[in-house]
């Protein structure tokens, strides 16, 4: 009895030990929840083939065979589960799943006490009992991940090859059409787990379909048909948050890379280097480089790379056929091109996505992506010239865009300010492109409409009136980084008028609905500067019969006008002394009401008086604006103007005693400057 008892104890102990081993390996239970590792939703199996059996029973043993070759040979000897993404189209019975390992079939050939599991997209777990012979059933409508316990796999009996799961190369599925027919299942991506999938286990994907179809990676024999879907890139159509600024001014002040104006007879590599704001950045986990890309003129073939400080470059060279993507401002991802001759041509603007999966080492001594310092884009001016492409913000993503957790990280900030210093443009030889800042003038600021800008002008573009005092015009930047017109009176000229006059506008505009003129201005001098606006108004009733229908008006002393200083945030009502008067240090917005204008004395004397009420009255048009500076007081006193236009609402004085309201607003509120 003692011996028997001992033997019983020993048996129980071994059984418990075996159970213990088994459950440490297969600890998954239906109460668990597993983080679903594959894509979800309707496009999850977009690149997956559907296995289609005979629709009629075979007349004899007919072993349907399917095989999907892993992306690379994989050691599954320590794996706990093989994970297969699937969907049942028509119920399939008696499927044997297995792995080709070292040339040996490892399949679910025998019954096991441990079941397989099916995990749905929401992570719920259900058991899938192994039937006689280890066969599995996939029901129509089922979709998710099939978890096959590795421990259930045994070598097929007749296989004499002594292979190993350490050298696993493919998944196989087999069944006999003599007994199982008229079934269809879709097989997607494949991975495996080590450890408990629900409790800290690690998932590794070994068959990835995110890049598209892999027709060459499948094998189907003995009457089994593979139906491939149309080529669908699962990234295409994904909806993500657009990472950059949008709208008409999204590329305002972007750095534009203008290619050489002519081609080269020989290879000449034009390169733009974009240095990251924070120096070296670890891009090991990056999935995409994202470039705020402006296709301004042409679509040059660009090769993308990233470099370390040591000059080691990782690029898309050698990845012809791989796709390049674009996120539109609507957040929709699209394929925008694919590499051919190591370059892609991109003809649309948006967030250009350069897949890091297509980036590999091109040259250099550094071995990894842990310290990348700049983005490199090259093209060959032997084939690509006269193009203009722009770059705003640059960043990168981690995670799979649009599907699982993904995050955008900034590499070069933009914010619509001039970041051209971060971009270097160099050719291999002399025929060089250039860079410039993409200037876009905003024509509407709230209640104001602008029509005179510094953009497009160069130093000296505006030549002062030859009959007046000397002057100089140069280009400076305004508060918003836009080109502004800097003016200075250089002093009187002998025999000439005492005023320096600059032409600002000539044309014909209906501005009768406005209340007055507005402009951005800055006083560069150490004294208060005053200048006049000389304005021609045509169509005045009093001049209707005249051969000279224009009437010249300008600003008179003693009128009130508005100043809003963008630096102090202060708005005030100032007096024309004698014209538009800029206090010392002023930078901001000026509003001069039409009521501050009166007909120029010389105009009235020469062509007859015109009532002030006729100035910009209904039916009239604005035909000219000039700026005049009195050399007697303001020689050498520079100031700048820009964004000259008209405003439609009279501001209100706002203070601690006079609060803003719906009917009383200050200039920044009326212009939307605080948005």
């Amino acid at each position: 009895m003692k011996v028997t008892k001992k033997a019983l104890v020993l048996v129980l102990t071994v059984a418990i030990a075996l159970s213990s081993v088994c459950f440490s390996a297969f600890a998954l239970g239906t109460e668990d929840n597993v983080a679903y590792p594959f894509r979800t939703g309707s496009a999850a199996l977009a690149n997956a083939p559907t296995l289609v059996s005979y629709t009629e029973q075979a007349s004899g043993d007919t072993w349907h065979w399917f095989e999907a070759i892993f992306d690379s040979q994989t050691d599954l000897s320590s794996a706990s589960y093989l994970a297969v993404e699937f969907e049942g189209v028509k119920t399939a019975w008696n499927l044997t799943f297995g792995i080709m390992g070292g040339g040996t079939r490892w399949g679910s050939y025998t019954d096991r006490s441990v079941n397989a599991y099916i995990v749905t997209e929401n992570g719920t777990v259900t058991e899938r009992a192994s039937q006689n012979g280890g066969y599995m059933t996939i029901n129509a409508g089922e979709k998710g991940m099939l978890l096959l316990p590795i421990a259930n796999l045994t070598k097929v009996g007749w296989d004499s090859v002594n292979g190993s799961l350490a050298n696993s190369t493919s998944l196989f599925i087999e069944t006999n059409a003599l007994y199982n027919w008229n079934w269809e299942i879709t097989i997607g991506e494949i991975g495996y787990y080590t450890g408990d999938p629900a409790n800290g286990g690690t998932f590794t994907k070994i068959f990835d379909l995110s890049g598209g179809l892999k027709k060459a990676k499948y094998s189907a024999v003995n009457g089994l048909t593979l139906n491939f879907p149309g080529e669908v890139d699962t990234k295409v159509g994904a909806q993500v948050e657009y990472p950059f600024t949008t709208g008409a001014y999204a590329f305002k002040n972007a750095t534009v890379w203008a290619g050489p104006t002519s081609s080269d007879a020989n290879d000449n590599w034009q390169t733009v280097f974009a240095g990251f704001d924070d120096g070296a950045v670890d891009l090991s986990d990056a999935t995409y480089i994202a470039v705020q890309y402006l296709a301004k003129t042409g679509a040059p073939g660009l090769t993308y790379g990233i470099e370390t400080a040591n000059g080691t470059r990782f690029s898309n060279v050698g990845h012809d056929g791989d796709n390049v993507y674009m996120i539109g401002e609507n957040g929709i991802v699209s394929k925008t091109g694919s590499y051919l001759y190591d370059a892609s041509n991109v003809s649309t603007s948006g967030a250009l996505l350069i897949p890091m999966a297509s980036i590999s080492k091109q040259f250099g001594s550094d071995s990894n992506l842990t310290a990348m310092t700049q983005l490199v884009m090259t093209t060959n001016s032997k084939y690509n010239w006269n193009f203009e492409v722009g770059f705003g913000e640059i960043g990168y993503y981690t995670g799979e865009i649009g599907y699982n957790d993904f995050t955008y990280h900034r590499l070069i900030a933009f914010g619509n300010v001039d970041r051209s210093a971060s971009f270097a443009v160099t050719p291999t030889t002399g025929n060089a492109g250039r860079k410039y800042v993409n200037k876009i003038d905003r024509t509407v600021y709230g209640d104001s409409n602008m029509f005179v800008f510094g953009t497009g002008k160069q130093d000296g573009s505006i030549v002062p009136w030859s009959g007046g005092a000397a002057g100089t015009q140069t280009i400076v930047l305004d508060t918003y980084g836009d080109d502004a017109i800097k003016l200075v009176c250089d002093g009187p000229r002998e025999g000439a008028d005492a005023y320096t006059a600059f032409d600002m506008f000539a044309g014909s505009r209906d501005v009768t609905a406005a209340k007055g003129f507005t402009l951005w201005a800055k006083n560069y001098s150490d004294v208060e500067v005053s200048f006049n606006l000389e304005v021609d108004c045509t169509g005045i009733p009093a001049r209707a019969e005249s051969a000279l229908p224009n009437a010249r008006f300008n600003i008179k002393q003693g009128n009130r006008f508005w100043l809003y200083d963008v630096n102090t945030g202060k708005q005030t009502i100032y007096m024309t002394r004698p014209c538009v008067t800029l206090p010392v240090g002023f930078e901001g917005w000026v509003r001069i009401p039409y009521t501050a204008f009166a007909q120029a004395e010389w105009d009235a004397a020469g062509f007859g008086a015109v009532a002030n009420e006729d100035f910009m009255s209904a039916g009239t048009r604005l035909t000219y604006i000039g700026i005049t500076v009195y050399s007697g007081d303001y020689t050498g006193k520079a100031f700048a103007v820009n964004k000259l236009g008209t405003y439609n609402t009279t501001p209100s004085f706002i203070s601690a005693l006079v609060p803003m309201s719906d009917t009383m607003k200050n200039i920044p509120a009326l212009m939307g400057l605080e948005d």
């Binding site: 009130r560 508005w562 007096m575 009521t595 501050a596 601690a656 005693l657 009383m664």
Partner: protein, 469 residues
Amino acid sequence: MKKFLALLIVLVLALSLGLSMASCKKGGKTSDKPDDSTEISTTAEQSGTSEKQATKLDAPVVTISEEGLATWTSDANAVRYQYKLGETEMQTAKTSLQLEDGQTIQVKAIGDGENYLDSDYSAAMTYTAPAPAIVTGIPAPAEGYYMTNADLIQDGETRYLLYTTNMTAGEDDNAFAVMTGELNDDEEWVYGEGKVVLSAGAEDAWDRYLLSASIVKGEFAMGGETYNWLLAYAATDLATGTAAQIGLAVSKTVDGEYTRVGAPVITYDKDAYGATMAGCYAPSAINYDKQSGVRIFYTYADKYGHFSFFWDADLSDLENVDGQGAMGVNDGDLHSGDAVLMFPNSDMAYDATEGLFVAVKDYSPSAATAPSFAERIELCWIDEDELYTTDPGYGWLSLGFWDTFDLELDLEYERAYSACIVSDAYGHMMYFNNSVEIVYNTCMTKATTENYMYTQILVSYLFALPMPE
């Protein structure tokens, strides 16, 4: 018998005559007594009814007070009165009517039409407003001293006169002083001694030379203390008195020593705009909300002229002052001798009820001879909303415009300048029987005395506002 018959005839005749005479007497009395039965009988026979005869009312007697209030005698039998102003006839139950200067009134009593008939119109009476009287309650300075740039406020039954004076006779060492005034039994303001409340700043201070000031009541905190009075003052670091700036000082009592807040809050950059220009002067403080929201009007002057500006701030915490200024309105139907209308040296008061600012300002240009002070002052007002916009409005509307002759001053005093409006303690308007009281400066000219600067005195003047139409 003949003798008896004759006697009888005589007696009968005599009796008849006597009766007849008695009847005649009775008839004569009837006209004085409407209740005489004979007369009533006669009247009844004439009208064909039995009613009494109606009596015509006497015409009222009209008198007019110095203030133009017309009153007339009351008649118990009158149902109302009818008055005539020019061609206009109106009826009223009252026995008085306020007249405007020059209006002529006649009044008649209206009877009930049955017992009493309307009276005739009274004699025509015309109201002629008396010439403005000079209030002489403000004391004159001692010899060698001057009082100028007054700001007079009334807090309840007490008046406080803030003014600029010199600390030393014959010198121009300015300080600000406050006099307290109380009403005596004759309804005259009697002022006490002036107390200096702020002296000139240190040698290198921005306020080395004091110019003019204005005080308001309110709540102003600084350094953990709460002060009840704020003094806004113009000063400069230049002995020329030019390039002025405006700063603040506070006190817990109106005539106590004021503590400077610090740097000027309204600045003038003499390097940029000229050290010889007046700068920012003539502050006029108004406690807009009667708490801590203060508006300071002032005059800004550079080479283009003298113009009105204002500055708003919440001064509840004087250690965190964030003011906002603007140029005020400088146009309207004002008197001016300049090519461009200017608004120099003004004082303001706020009529919150009507939404008006009332101002009294110097005329421009000032006198061509010394002293170059203004020779006239002008009272005007403006709709508050016009200050906050550049849209065209009426601008300042003139209410009165005077020189020293209009004000009936001694002919030696040929300047009228630097006036203030007597307001309440917050700088809000006070009306005295529909009049505005103005305190202004006057002085002799250099042609009269070389010491003309020390002839500067303050004079009060009560101006009756025009009646609204």
